[in-house]
Amino acid sequence: MSALTALFALLFYLATAILLVGLGRKIWQYARTPAPLKVPTTPAPTTRAGVVARLFREVVFFESLFKGSKWSWLFGWLFHFGLLLVLVRHLRYFTEPVWAVSALVQDLGVYMGMVMTVGLLGLLARRSLVDRLRYISAPSDYLMLVLLIGIAVSGLLMKYYFRTDVVAFKAFMLGVMRFSWEPLPADPMLIIHLGLVILLMLIFPFSKLLHVPGLFFSPTRNQVDNPRERRHLAPWASALDSTRAQGG
């Protein structure tokens, strides 16, 4: 058992724990914090089913962003859906037998890695070239893109130039998951790729990647437009309600 294997196995445990606990804490915080007033951005759905459809369109099609900025939408959508297929393709390293859905996108997934990279480069170009975006960008906003580009490019390089032993890597990954470690192939590109992924998992709950759970808790998007029909009262507001100057 090499030190490298132990290091990465432990890092995976740590990153997974921080990702899950960190995200869980934020989701718990969002769920617990009341939305005392009805504030959907209207026109808004008047039924729960309508809200589900609205959120679905936001998550899958980035509906509002499409209205807001065609370039951001294009690059953002390419990135996210490239990433989605790439992740599904990567399931083959975590499942035995390989899940059907992962096998299905086996070939497509590689091209999606390129699509994802194009999207990220587009977003980076927009952030660097448009003066308004430069103004609102902190170093972390650029670095986040650089990190994701690093993950995508190191993955593609491994596919085409610096081949690694994927069978051995899968054995390592399954070993980590089953708490019965197998050696990690000591290929530099694989180490870079995994290191960057672990870094991404670590910063996820402390960064703007919180937009992922945030969208589902956004009151302007997830509220039903029915304030006249249904009385909506948050716990802290209901304390005020009982002490309010009663009008008769």
Partner: protein
């Protein structure tokens, strides 16, 4: 501020997104509330010594009370979709008027004191200490936002800068730095019952004068009842409707509709204001206290329905918040929505054939419609989403032969704020108001040039006052702005014949 101190932006043929000009509106800030205006609302009279601790405490408190604030401060990815959506950015080019940058004024402090990344790596994530300079920026730029929510339409996470601005103003109030205009007015409503500080005798006088005027004009005795117990409808309308131009012509229009429908109605001298500036300063408590007068008046007068006059933010508060703040309305007639917008009320009568309109009376006009931000993006009319766009237009089409809409990216939920909403309708912010009106003025100029538009109708007291003030800066007539119910009233055939 003098006319000469700034240049009115030039109207172009199409919208030009300006290049960032840092600090171009750094000089703009409204008068600070005097101690007496602050203290009457329970806020410290002036900047407190321990402002930093108190501001951070307040921020923490608000983060726990409003999910919107917590989620919005976390979720922004700086995608930039909102950066060219704010009328104040388009009109001033000050980058802190880009919605995301306005949010960042609060977000950078949130990150510094409330997040792990900001605590340990402030420079990396753009987090900064809370300093006096930051508080000054808050005061300036949270008073360059009209809380119109246009940015929230385009944000992939629905981040609503209005929520951030309200939180910013709430924090400022809590450390003793309130805005004179809003806080003085809220005090007046608490004391007297309306924004203008108009007492009952003056109101009664005004309404009597209106009755005489309408009878002279039309020969019909249209009544404007005050404090009439047992009336069917309580009408709550912005107090500007009582005498400001062009608002009062709208009030005359409501009166004619009630008269012709044969529905008894009344105004209340106790609740003589639909406007509720509590929303502008983000104060749930003051919003509730202001609104409570209306519940009380409705109960005392024993009415069956509450109808709200033409006012944007008032309709947001009434439609979206009243049931929460002062409901339930179980004492009103369940056959009607509570509350009901005057446009819904009139539309309903039209659908039932209770009103006869002679459109030709408005044949001298080519009319367009300015969607008010709070009506468009924070409320509804009727029973289907988007009714707030359909119903006022239906009234206009029913009362005008010549109606045209402005460019689609400037109407409905995409509408541009008039530039004076959200507690900014004050003379100490004229430059901001003129510049913020630019996108609307441009869309208006286009329909003037292409369709010969002569009038722009609106259903908001703030919009009407704002346009009356800023139209002349753009070489347009201040009397172009008109109430929807003036157009309805002018075409309404009064009398018994059917």
């Amino acid at each position: 501020m003098d006319k000469a101190e700034f240049e009115t932006p030039e109207l172009k043929e199409y919208t030009v997104v300006p290049l960032v000009q840092e600090g171009s509106m750094a000089h703009s800030k409204p008068f600070v509330a005097k101690p007496e205006h602050q203290e009457q609302l329970g806020f410290p009279g002036e900047l407190v010594d321990d402002w930093k601790e108190r501001a951070l405490d307040k921020m923490g408190e608000l983060l726990g009370k409003y999910r919107s604030l917590q989620v919005f401060l976390d979720a922004c990815v700086k995608c930039g979709a909102c950066t060219d959506k704010c009328h104040y950015y388009l009109g001033t080019a000050d980058p802190k008027n880009m919605p995301v940058a306005r949010q960042d004024l609060l977000r950078k402090v949130y990150r510094r004191y409330f997040t792990l990344a900001g605590r340990y790596f402030p420079a990396l994530v753009g987090a900064t200490d809370l300093t006096e300079a930051v508080v000054e920026d808050w005061y300036r730029y949270y008073h360059q936002c009209s809380e119109c929510r246009r940015c929230s339409v385009f944000c992939p996470y629905g981040i609503d800068t209005a929520e951030i601005t309200m939180a910013g103003r709430e924090i400022l109030d809590s450390i003793g730095v309130g805005q004179k205009y809003s806080n003085e007015i809220i005090g007046k409503v608490h004391r007297i019952g309306n924004n203008l500080g108009l007492p009952e005798p003056a109101l009664a006088d005004t309404l009597e004068g209106l009755e005489e005027e309408v009878e002279e004009d039309t020969g019909v005795a249209v009544k404007f009842p005050l404090d009439q117990e047992g009336a069917d409808v309580l009408l709550v309308t912005p107090s500007a409707d009582f005498f400001a131009e062009p608002h009062v012509d709208g009030l005359i229009g409501y009166g004619k509709v009630f008269h012709q429908a044969g529905i008894s109605w009344t105004l209340s001298s106790y609740a003589s204001e639909a406007a509720n500036f509590g929303i502008f300063i983000g104060s749930y408590e003051h919003m509730q206290k202001v609104a409570m007068r209306i519940r009380k008046a409705a109960l005392e007068l024993g009415v069956n329905r509450i109808v709200v006059g033409e006012c944007g933010h008032a309709w947001r508060v009434a439609y979206s918040f009243w049931n929460t703040l002062i409901g339930p309305f179980d004492f009103l007639d369940p056959a009607y929505p509570a509350p009901q917008h005057i446009c819904e009320f009139t539309y309903d009568l039209m659908q039932r054939g209770a009103l006869k309109l002679d459109k030709e009376a408005n044949d001298d006009k080519v009319v367009t419609f300015h969607d008010s931000c709070n009506v468009s993006r924070a409320s509804r009319m009727g029973d289907m989403p988007g009714g707030q766009f359909i119903i006022p237009r239906a009234l206009l089409r029913a009362s005008c032969n010549h109606f045209v809409d402005m460019a689609p990216e400037t109407i409905n939920e995409n509408t541009f704020c008039c530039g004076g909403g959200g507690g900014l309708l004050t003379d100490d912010l004229v430059e901001l108001r003129v510049k913020g009106a630019l996108p609307r003025m441009q869309a208006l100029q286009q329909v003037i040039d292409e369709n010969g538009v002569t009038h722009m109708a609106a259903i908001c007291a703030i919009c009407k006052s704002q346009f009356t003030k800023v139209l002349p800066y753009y070489q347009l007539g201040m009397d172009m702005i008109i109430s929807v119910h003036q157009l309805v009233g002018d075409t309404l055939v009064l009398g018994d014949e059917q």
